[in-house]
């Protein structure tokens, strides 16, 4: 068990180191001169050299990565090229926004997916199941960017009930924060709801076909208790994985939704940084996301053991 966790941690660390190295190599990938593009045609050779040093272009990628990691361990992720703000400050501002958005979207997705999947799987082939499956299918076919557009158009422009863009931090004005949260969270959540529903339904169908469900029914357990207490937990693993990986990826932000709704989260930062070749910020985002995914994977792994005691048993 501990051995297993230690091995997982080592593997996770290796992943992070490799991703960091790859991220450090990014400036080397660029065509033309990053320095010229940023500094303009009047830049002096000294300015260019200083710039190259700042983004690690003067070194090979390995050495740059090493320096980056060494600095990162001291809590220094460098400064943004765009505004000179320390990247850590920038991330500190953005991560909470992105996490709030992620949490809200997952709530939306789960609030839809759980009841729908449970009802669908309980009576497979019934009218509700067929309707829900068909809807999920159609829903799944609507990309987030189309959905977001429509939501803005309908809710913000036509009905004017919700703001189209922008963000108010929760600490400033909770009510306004919620108003700004609704549309982006719906866009993300509704798209995921379809995926969640399908995943959970498929797994529930599997579970409900198991003898132990029949056995519990044979002991008089009613449908609600059967579904919630007996079937949901063994069916939860794929969903937990989805949410877990989603959480890790969420640290990188949803570029699309955040751009569309001008949410000042990590995704918006990523888009701006990429557009502006703000390499220190890009690198930090990539690495932070990788760390997030790796950590989420570990957490999911541990959660698995709580959900399904057999797994813990196998690895003991």
């Amino acid at each position: 068990m501990t051995r297993h966790i230690v091995l997982r941690l080592l593997r996770a660390a290796a992943v992070v180191v490799l991703v960091t190295t790859a991220a450090a190599a990014l400036p080397h990938l660029m065509r033309g001169s990053p320095a010229l593009a940023t500094l303009g045609p009047n830049a002096t050779p000294e300015q260019i050299a200083a710039f190259d040093a700042e983004i690690g272009l003067d070194d090979n990628a390995l050495a740059a990565a090493w320096h980056w990691i060494a600095d990162a361990l001291h809590g220094d992720l460098g400064n943004s090229l765009a505004n000179g703000v320390p990247v850590t400050t920038e991330l500190g501002d953005r991560v909470p926004v992105t996490l709030e958005l992620f949490a809200a979207s997952q709530l939306v997705a789960l609030a839809i997916a759980l009841p729908v999947a449970l009802w669908s799987a309980w009576r497979p082939g019934g009218w509700f199941d067929r309707l829900a499956t068909a809807l999920a299918f159609v829903w799944l076919a609507i990309p987030a960017f189309v959905l977001g557009l429509l939501l803005i158009y309908v809710a913000a422009v036509q009905w004017r009930i919700l703001p189209a863009t922008g963000w108010t931090p929760f600490t400033d004005d909770p009510a306004d924060n919620l108003r700004h949260l609704v549309l982006p969270a719906l866009t993300m959540g509704l798209t995921e709801a379809a995926v969640f529903t399908r995943t959970l339904r498929a797994q529930l169908m599997d579970t409900l076909d198991q003898t132990y469900i029949d056995a519990a029914r044979g002991r008089g357990l009613g449908a609600t208790r059967l579904l919630l207490r007996r079937a949901l937990r063994p069916s939860a693993l794929p969903l937990v994985t989805l949410i877990g990986i989603g959480f890790g990826m969420a640290l990188g932000g949803s570029v699309l939704v955040e751009t569309l709704f001008a949410v000042p989260g990590m995704g918006g930062l990523a888009a701006t940084a990429i557009n502006g070749r703000d390499f220190p910020v890009i690198q930090a985002i990539v690495v932070v996301t990788a760390v997030g995914v790796v950590a989420a994977t570990l957490a999911v792994d541990l959660l698995y053991r709580r959900i399904d005691p057999r797994i813990a048993h196998d690895h003991r």
């Binding site: 297993h4 196998d314 690895h315 003991r316």
Partner: protein, 339 residues
């Protein structure tokens, strides 16, 4: 009697997360032409592991397997592939052992197609018909069917035909009938029996069902936690088991018109193979276990003609000489357990 296959001191160790699992320990078997040896034991006793070790799929952790005098371990991968047809196996689950996407004809002909250019491939179609006939399936009806269109007994017969197509010298059947209904089981058992006799195959028949074993095998080896605990000709062994475990197995077999025997076990379940008991592995369930059983592992001992047993306290009439038990303790075989 000619020995076709000789397995010596086979040991199989599975690596698990909880440490090495000794599935098979020092098992030696000899298979003879036209004779069938049955391997009997509880679930998890290592029956399938022995079969796989013999087939070198993969090779055993220790021990050697020689077929027709050739040591399989000494063969190059290519030579091993060419040699493989000599030993064939039929699996427990008839349906999952047939590729659901291929027709019966192609499944049976696989051995012919896999080694093109050898003598076997003379006339594919004729050979397929011949094989299907041999297992009692009408070629016209069955050659073009897919596995999903076969019943369990038919599928098992197709699997046997596929094995026969390789012209094996040894045929292993791993629980080949335990998934079948009695009527289909009888058909397959008859078929196996007939084939070993008419084709002169050496058979290894793996089963947990003593009734079935009696119907097909000439000899029996009883396996307990990866070790052979008793061996002998089927009829003799079933008539007078020497090992308490064999006796318990036999006593537990329910049969119409037969009162259940009084053989009983101390513990219901076998111990974990990850952590087998010291000395005699059976002692935790053995009603006759004594101090010596915990200390020393009983060696395989010949107790009668072609009968061997590994027990410190074999049942009468095979009771061990007193020297075998340094404590001088005689287990009381007459104790009756009230269950």
């Amino acid at each position: 009697m000619t020995a076709v296959l000789q397995a010596s001191d086979l040991s199989v160790v599975h690596r698990t997360r909880s440490g090495p699992l000794y599935a098979v320990s020092d098992v030696s078997l000899t298979l003879h032409r036209s004779r069938t040896l049955a391997l009997v034991g509880e679930s998890g006793s290592g029956k399938s592991s022995i079969a796989k070790a013999i087939l070198h799929l993969p090779a055993p952790t220790r021990g050697t397997v020689t077929v027709d005098g050739v040591d399989l371990a000494g063969l190059t991968p290519r030579a091993l592939r060419a040699f493989r047809p000599r030993v064939q196996m039929v699996f427990q689950d008839p349906l999952s052992s047939l590729n659901p996407r291929r027709r019966v004809r192609d499944i049976v002909a696989e051995a012919l197609d896999a080694h093109p250019g050898t003598a076997r491939t003379v006339d594919r179609e004729a050979r397929v018909r011949e094989l299907l006939d041999a297992v009692g399936l009408s070629p016209d009806t069955f050659a073009d069917r897919l596995p999903a269109q076969l019943s369990g007994g038919q599928a098992q017969r197709v699997a046997i035909a596929r094995a026969l197509a390789a012209e094996p010298h040894v045929l292993i059947a791993d629980e080949a009938v335990s998934a079948l209904d009695v009527s289909a089981q009888a058909t397959v058992l008859n078929l196996l029996r007939r084939l070993t006799e008419t084709l002169g195959l050496a058979g290894l028949f793996i089963s947990h069902d003593l009734g079935v074993v009696r119907a097909v095998s000439d000899d029996v080896a009883v396996l307990y936690l990866g070790r052979v605990c008793e061996q002998g000709p089927t009829e003799d062994l079933l008539a007078a088991p020497a090992h308490p475990y064999t006796a318990a197995l036999l006593a537990a077999v329910p049969e119409p018109g037969r009162a259940l025997g009084d053989g009983h076990l101390l513990a219901v379940d076998p111990p974990s193979p990850l952590n087998p008991p010291s000395g005699c592995r059976f002692r935790t369930r053995c009603p006759y276990a004594s101090a010596v059983c915990a200390e020393r592992e009983p060696a395989m001992r010949v107790v009668a003609e072609r009968r061997a047993v590994a027990c410190h306290h074999p049942l009468p009439p095979f009771a061990a000489p007193a020297t075998d038990d340094p404590t001088g303790h005689r287990p009381d075989h007459s104790i009756q357990h009230e269950d």
